[in-house]
Symmetry: C2
Subunit: 222 residues, 2 copies
Amino acid sequence: MKIEVKKNIMATNASAAAKNRERLLEHGICMVNLMASPGAGKTSTIIKAIEGTGGLLNLAVIEGDIASEIDSLTIEAMDIPAIQINTGGSCHLTAAMIGAALDHLDLEALDLIIIENVGNLVCPAEFDLGENARMMIASVAEGHDKPYKYPLIFREVDAILINKIDLLPYCDFDLAQFRQLVQSLNPGVSLIELSCKDGYGADELCDWLRETASRNRADLRS
Amino acid sequence: MKIEVKKNIMATNASAAAKNRERLLEHGICMVNLMASPGAGKTSTIIKAIEGTGGLLNLAVIEGDIASEIDSLTIEAMDIPAIQINTGGSCHLTAAMIGAALDHLDLEALDLIIIENVGNLVCPAEFDLGENARMMIASVAEGHDKPYKYPLIFREVDAILINKIDLLPYCDFDLAQFRQLVQSLNPGVSLIELSCKDGYGADELCDWLRETASRNRADLRS
């Protein structure tokens, strides 16, 4: 007898993801799954998104980490609802974890939920959370060769933020080669150059989020 | 009936790790498991190790990646035996994968094997590969708060390389706070400041590798 562990895990996850998607649809909420390596700037990016969309969108954040709640405390200090998920040892969020987090949010009051996934370029890309859009961050300090090594995540996302663009003069990051590599894996992807440190590109990020949320609402109506 | 998947996976891995350790012992080889986030500088660190220990140690490298063989080609171009493992979707190496790689190396001719694990701070720390020492890289660009979020890996290693130390003037990385955090999780750990870009700290890294290899040989004799 062969136990199809991975197949079962994926089927269970897909059904929980479908439930999440249905709940978001009922409330006209757009949910974005933000993925990246550890230390690429996920929380800093969310802070820029809050600063740039405040007053225009009602936002909440779901923070996924192996341990600690420093990220959700940072977000709550900005008066934004934040749910911290500690996965214990697990290297990615699952749709069931997100379902439990949605139970703790006032869905009537929200337009946009940003999920900060666990810092990892591998497994988060395999797990549908019921999100409407997927965004990843590639940090200039990580080098331009990451699409070769982690092709799935670069293929699966709707937007790639090239963060820490302020470090470009100090790193061996070939921006043209990176863009070319990414376009070959994922021709339609939005590429946004960003510096969370000095705010460069934050407007473009917030425009993308607002357009994604309003396209999602338009899709709901049609 | 409860299927203890994780327990079984871990038991199978532990037995493969014990076999690897026995093979290394027979041949007096020291094996070091190098772990880090994507883009922290694992391959660049191995290149510095090859340059600094060449002639003193007979080295081989096992490269773990989801996809691509660019890293093993880089190492082979330095006339060092390199085995590439492509894990497919898996976010970490296992002891069985390392066992298969050892079959392809001339163990009689080696003193030191460096394993470059998959870029990930989570699961690699949970899987014993049969190694004699564990080393991780923390990149200055990732920020000093990583030990809060990924405590297991910071606890489990024998040495932490603080790489991209040349980026210190351009990043919000509090070196004193990082050192304090790490010492509280792992009091005996060796901390080495490194810049693979300008070579700073490479001597200290190579000294550590040589001492670890010779301590391992001394342990074998006693």
